[in-house]
């Protein structure tokens, strides 16, 4: 059911004519006790799915905001098992959960055990930024057996042939990285972004979401206009950390108006 839950929900939202909005939060930032309430809050605001970061000590794809959230989460005692146990409590939620983490915690937990734990906790998909398609065969069969979507990232630096291959392979959605760099807020995007998103949209079997650097209502509207929606990470993490939830609501609202 896992992967299907994600696909069905995205389909339903897009069929209404809305854009997708996937907020990223760091599991354990603010303590694991806060996790289910934050998921609930995002659901109430109208999020389409949640990208949930599992903290890792050495997150090379992440900028400072998410690095620091990861350090806070680890300091608060968050563990992989702790996150799964917390998610299990409300596994019948409507909101699809996509876990984002690096390869090492998955490998340490055991790939098969990790996939099973995802199923038990009601997780629909995985994003592993340090697992390019050259290495993914170590995990793909097991994820397929357990019905967990492996969401591929495509980058501005990916040549056309790689973009096409990633478009073909991805499940759930295609994560279009909109900056040549790490996660974190940006003021502007390269002019190439529109053309890049248009190219990715063309012939894609899954929704295409833009992510990395998206941090204002204007950017949400602008990028959503060129694809199926956005992933917003650092700005959301910062908002929860600073207790300023109004901005989260405003960004999700902006996404609804961008069609």
């Amino acid at each position: 059911m896992s992967k299907q839950r994600l696909d069905a929900r995205f389909k339903e939202i897009l069929a209404r004519g809305d854009k997708l909005f996937v907020p990223y939060i760091m599991a354990g930032d603010g303590g694991l006790d806060a996790l289910n309430e934050r998921i609930q809050f995002l659901e109430t605001c109208g999020a389409s799915a949640i990208e949930l970061g599992l903290p890792f000590s050495d997150p090379v794809a992440d900028g400072e905001t998410i690095q620091e959230a990861g350090i806070r989460a680890l300091k608060s005692g968050a563990t992989v098992q702790g996150v799964f146990d917390t998610l299990k409590v409300s596994k019948e939620r409507n909101m699809p959960i996509i876990l984002m983490t690096y390869m090492n915690p998955v490998y340490r937990y055991g790939i098969e055990a990790f996939a099973k734990a995802c199923v038990d906790a009601g997780v629909s998909g995985l994003i592993i930024p340090d697992l390019p398609m050259e290495e993914e065969q170590m995990i793909t069969d097991i994820l397929t057996q357990h019905d967990i979507a492996l969401i591929r990232l495509v980058a501005l630096t990916s040549p056309t042939t790689r973009q096409e291959e990633l478009k073909k392979r991805t499940e759930g959605f295609l994560y279009a990285v909109t900056v040549t760099g790490t996660t974190g807020e940006r003021q502007t995007f390269t002019d190439r972004v529109h053309q890049y998103l248009a190219h990715l949209k063309n012939g894609a079997n899954t929704p295409v979401l833009a992510g990395f650097g998206v941090s204002s209502e204007e950017q949400v509207k602008m990028l959503s206009g060129h694809c199926d929606g956005v992933v917003v990470g650092s700005r959301i993490v910062k908002a929860f950390h600073e207790g300023d939830r109004a901005i989260i609501k405003a960004m999700i609202e902006a996404s609804k108006q961008s069609t």
Binding site: V60, V106, R108, D130, A155, S158
Partner: protein, 399 residues
């Protein structure tokens, strides 16, 4: 015949390319560029020209007679990488990769450094070839190695302090990788050891393997045969890989890699990845890592900034698994003992990194006979460590 890595960059189950998609094209481009130059006579001629006339190769293979007598046992030879320009083996790889950077038409270089030796070597090669250079270094290491920071600055490099995590080599690699992700279009990452995603472990090994090739020839000229044992210190493992690689198929040659045992393996405060670590993925490669049960990387601990790394080159992981190399460890105390021993018996102050190999030497030499020989890779000189050593051992100059 030993032939690693395979075409996908794996050494047995280890290695690979675990990097973000943004970097994948650069990693593939690097592989292609390296395949173009690795057998190109013009490239190799230029490389060897600089190695000879600029670095001062070949380095001597020196019979350490007084050390041999003092320890009693096998004859000890030192491969004098400490005599290279900039004081360590690091310049071999830095120069090779700086030439490769030019071949790829890139004008900027990023590097990480632990003890500062690779940073200085990279800054040097960049000054020589007119490349822009930025070096990431842990704030803790900057404290331990102030002089090397100033040397890099004199050479025109920009040194960026890294305050995250343990503020040592691992964190410097993280930051260098992040910088590379953000500047990949015009910047090459000159990684300092046989670590990172394919093809780095192969490139760095190849650019260091003159150490072993020269040793083989020099030892043969002196004795007409092969040495019985090789020994080298290991952090990421580039000097060891450069020494071992040309001997992998010579089954009679035993090889020993000495990791940093820090305060002792049993204390948990060490950097002995192969002795105390478990398989995982870090910095683009699958290898043994110091990590907790949750897959979080733990902090390494060593008196030597250059060995203070929780991972190890994937080829070493493979050589351990196929039982070709024996990996052992020497503690901070063993290293200090080794440093004093070599200074007093031979008039050579080794780098703290290399002192780990010397520190393990008594055990090895005494278990062998007088007609046998050991070659130690003396990877660097100790000038940079004098302050650290003085802080531990004290000295007359204290007022």
């Amino acid at each position: 015949m030993y032939q690693q890595p395979n075409e996908t960059g794996h050494f047995g189950q280890f290695g690979g390319r675990f990097v973000p998609e943004t970097l994948m094209p650069a990693v593939l481009e690097l592989e292609e560029a390296y395949n173009e130059v690795k057998n190109d006579p013009d490239f190799l001629e230029t490389f060897h020209y600089y190695l000879k006339d600029y670095v001062g190769r070949e380095t001597p293979l020196y019979y350490a007679e007084r050390l041999t007598k003092k320890l009693g046992g096998a004859k000890i030879y030192l491969k004098r990488e400490d005599l290279n320009h900039t004081g360590a083996h690091k310049i071999n790889n830095a120069l090779g990769q700086a030439l490769l950077t030019k071949h790829m038409g890139k004008k900027k270089v990023v590097a990480e450094t632990g003890a500062g030796q690779h940073g200085v070597a990279t800054a040097t090669a960049c000054a020589l070839l007119g490349l822009e250079c930025i070096v990431f270094m842990g704030a803790e290491d900057i404290k331990r190695q102030k002089l090397n920071v100033f040397r890099m600055e004199l050479l025109g490099a920009k040194v960026e302090a890294v305050h995250h995590g343990s503020a040592t080599l691992k964190d410097a690699v993280n930051e260098a990788l992040r910088y590379w992700v953000s500047h990949v279009e015009d910047t090459h990452y000159i990684i300092g050891s046989v670590v990172g995603p394919h093809p780095f472990p192969q490139i760095v090994r190849d650019f260091q393997s003159m150490i072993g090739r020269e040793t083989k020839q020099q030892f043969n000229e002196k004795t007409g045969r092969l040495p019985d044992a090789l020994i080298a210190c290991i952090g990421g493992g580039s000097n060891a890989m450069g020494m071992f690689y040309p001997f992998v198929d010579d089954a009679s040659v035993k090889m020993y890699g000495v990791e940093a045992g820090g305060h002792g393996i049993s204390t948990g405060k060490h950097a002995a990845t192969l002795t105390g670590g478990r398989v995982g993925v870090l910095h683009g490669t699958m290898t043994y890592l110091l990590q907790d049960d949750d897959g979080q990387i733990t902090e390494a601990d060593s008196i030597s900034a250059g060995l203070d790394y929780p991972g190890i080159g994937p080829e070493h992981a493979h050589l351990k698994d196929i039982n070709r190399v024996e990996y052992v460890s020497a503690t901070d105390q063993d290293a200090l003992f080794g440093l004093k021993l070599l200074s007093e018996t031979e008039g050579i102050i080794p780098a703290l990194e290399s002192a780990h190999a010397i520190g393990y030497l008594p055990e090895l030499a005494q278990a062998m006979t007088e007609d046998q020989s050991i070659v130690v890779c003396l990877s660097g000189r100790g000038d940079k460590d004098v302050e650290t050593v003085k802080a531990v051992l004290g000295g007359q100059s204290d007022e």
